[in-house]
């Protein structure tokens, strides 16, 4: 591969010290993910997929090994530098949506732009556009408790997209949704991928993982299998 991968993990290790014991969550992950890939990370609980997600999302730093994102080594960055990277390069979608309950959909989507230092007017425009992209143009001024689960997750996706990130990082995005709504949300991800978005998704449901074009399975903190499906 001549082109540099978007994400490159080399010998990535993450240990937790609990009293005298050392717990290995990740034991030397080797993984490369290119631009516009649609990857599902699977594995049983305790396999390290959440830790991997946190490290890729720059919420956590590896104990050893290297993490290159977009040609920059982020594994040794300070807290504030990591916050910058999260703000610019990564869009999070959580299982429990994690919207601010007292803020409107529009304000929730504006949040990343506030931390990016975008002007109020530009913020409003970009947030409205992102909400339109996920089909919520008519729900901008609703609060999360006035929205359905699927709508909330769409708001969260809009929030993840608003900064035009390199990676869309989804952690069990359909875990709190019924099957019909799950299909809707997966359709949104598929659409975004078609538009060129790199999508990385953690899930333990095989039928959700089936939407991805590449499935990486973790077991006991190492990559167990890595299979690329031919485009359907």
């Amino acid at each position: 591969m001549a082109e540099q991968p978007l994400i490159s993990l080399r010998g990535l290790t993450r240990e937790y010290r609990m009293d005298a014991e050392t717990v290995y969550a990740l034991r030397g992950i080797e993984l490369a993910i290119g631009t516009n890939e649609y990857v599902a990370i699977m594995g049983p609980s305790g396999s390290g997929k959440s830790t991997l997600m946190n490290v890729i999302g720059c919420l956590d730093t590896p104990t050893r090994g290297e993490y290159w994102l977009n040609g920059t080594e982020v594994s040794r960055m300070s807290d504030d530098e990591l916050a910058r990277v999260r703000n610019r390069e990564i869009g999070f979608v959580f299982q429990t949506f994690n919207l601010l309950p007292r803020a409107t959909a529009l304000h929730n989507v504006e949040l990343p732009l506030i931390y990016a230092g975008t002007s109020a007017r530009e913020r409003r425009r970009a947030a409205s556009r992102a909400l339109e992209r996920v089909g919520l143009a008519d729900r901008m001024h609703h609060r999360p408790n006035e929205l359905s689960g699927g709508q909330r997750q769409r708001v969260a996706i809009a929030r993840a997209l608003v900064n035009d990130p390199s990676i869309l990082l989804a952690d069990e995005p359909t875990g709190n949704l019924d099957s019909v709504t799950s299909q809707e949300i997966m359709a949104v991800f598929g659409e975004l991928h078609t538009q060129g978005q790199t999508v990385l998704m953690v899930t333990h449901e095989a039928d959700i993982a089936a939407h991805a074009h590449r499935v990486v399975t973790l077991l006991d903190g190492v990559v167990h299998s890595d299979s690329v499906r031919e485009a359907a």
Partner: protein
């Protein structure tokens, strides 16, 4: 930086969510600020009143006292603790000497006592009686209407004429015309020649009956505690205050035969000096009150710590989300500091409002011209914001240091 408005908005909505807790915190700060405001306005009022009095005296008038010391004096009766015993009383002869000086415009002797005043079968007990030189109205301010003050001739002849103040006139004569009425002071008959309207003053002296008679008459007919005569001195228009003071000092020292090494056996006090000593007293008072009211702010501050700790714990997940979306430590810190400061500034504003109303009430219903000085508005708001920031710092720093992974996992 997160916008200030957003921080204030978040703060207000979290206040709505925890009304009782917020109210207690706000109350503490409000009481502290209110005390500062009320005390500040009263001291400003008192000072204004004092300055008014001095302004009416004419800014150049100064006093000669037998003894004067700034501040509050305590005496146990011993010579050691009663330094005025070294000083002989001021005398009329000394006043006459001073009157001859070129730099002196006029001088008024002033001596006081109290006596019973009668009119017909009406009697008022222990009315303050002052014996003064004929020019006392020019020096002391105020006005005589109706009627007149006593003349130099009456003064020299120890005439039994009296000027009563408005209060005494209304108590003694009710609606009758006071001029020409015959009254008795300490059992001696006098004729009322004028009604004195005192300059407005904050100590409410105008509300007490008072009578002024010529000093010579006073010495002859009124029982009094001898030895405490004062002089009020006005420099002549073309002499400076300092020249006049120097001349008075020289004249009195010569009259008393003091040698150059000896200290003055009298006190000359300018209005500046009186104001200074006054300001010293009110300054101390102010400091004590500030200390007391900062206790109120402290109580509010402890409340701020408590409510903010709860706020941080309750919103751990929100902090995690904000960090995931790119908030840096200082942005989280800022958010919670703004929230804490909003809380205390609301308290400060309420305290200011209540304090302002109380001051207004004082100014309306008492003679004290209480006025809220601009500086104390600024200080009150500043202090309450500072309290919020100081006491909000610890909870805010805790929020800023939260690990995003842990925070997102928090239920």
């Amino acid at each position: 930086m997160t916008s200030l408005f957003e921080g204030v908005g978040i703060a207000l909505s979290s206040l709505r969510a925890n009304k009782a807790r917020a109210a207690l915190t706000i109350l503490g700060v409000a009481i502290g600020v209110m005390v500062v405001m009320v005390i500040g306005s009263m001291i400003t009022g008192i000072n204004r009143g004092v300055e008014d009095i001095f302004n009416q005296l004419g800014p150049r008038t100064f006093f000669v006292f037998r003894y004067f010391q700034a501040g509050i004096q305590v005496s146990d009766g011993s010579d050691e603790m009663s330094p005025w015993r070294r000083n002989p009383p001021l005398t009329v002869a000394e006043a006459e000497r001073i009157r001859q000086l070129e730099s002196i415009g006029f001088i008024v002797v002033d001596e006081g006592s109290s006596a019973d005043v009668e009119y017909g079968n009406r009697q008022l007990e222990s009315v303050p009686v002052r014996g003064r030189g004929p020019q006392w109205v020019q020096v002391g301010g105020g006005d005589i209407a109706p009627g007149r003050s006593f003349t130099s001739v009456e003064s020299a002849a120890s005439a039994r004429v009296a000027v009563v103040n408005e209060k005494l006139a209304s108590e003694l004569f009710a609606l009758l015309d006071p001029i020409g009425k015959r009254i008795k002071i300490a059992g001696v008959p006098y004729q009322v020649v004028g009604v004195f309207i005192p300059p407005p003053d904050i100590f409410g002296e105008g509300n007490r009956p008072e009578v002024v008679i010529p000093h010579n008459t006073f010495e002859k007919h009124v029982p009094y505690w001898r030895g405490w005569m004062d002089f009020l001195v006005s420099p002549s228009p073309d002499a400076s205050v300092q020249d006049a003071i120097d001349d008075v000092t020289g004249s009195l020292r010569a009259a008393r035969g003091l040698r150059p090494a000896e200290e003055n056996t009298f006190s000359i006090v300018t209005q500046d000096k009186l104001l200074d000593s006054w300001n010293q007293v009110t300054g101390m008072f102010f400091l004590v009150m500030i200390a007391l009211s900062s206790v109120g702010l402290m109580v509010g501050g402890v409340g701020v710590v408590a409510i903010m700790m709860i706020s941080v714990t309750e919103r751990t997940r929100e902090i995690g989300v904000r960090k995931a979306l790119g908030a840096r430590r200082r942005e989280i810190l800022w958010q919670f500091l703004v929230e804490a400061a909003t809380l205390t500034v609301i308290g400060g504003a309420i305290g200011m409002l209540v304090g302002g109303l109380i001051s207004l009430g004082v100014a309306t219903f008492t003679p004290l011209p209480a006025k809220v000085p601009l500086i104390s508005v600024v200080a009150a708001l500043g202090m309450s914001a500072l309290t919020g920031i100081a006491f909000g710092l610890y909870p805010a720093a805790r929020a800023a240091r939260l690990d995003p992974v842990e925070a997102l996992r928090h239920e």
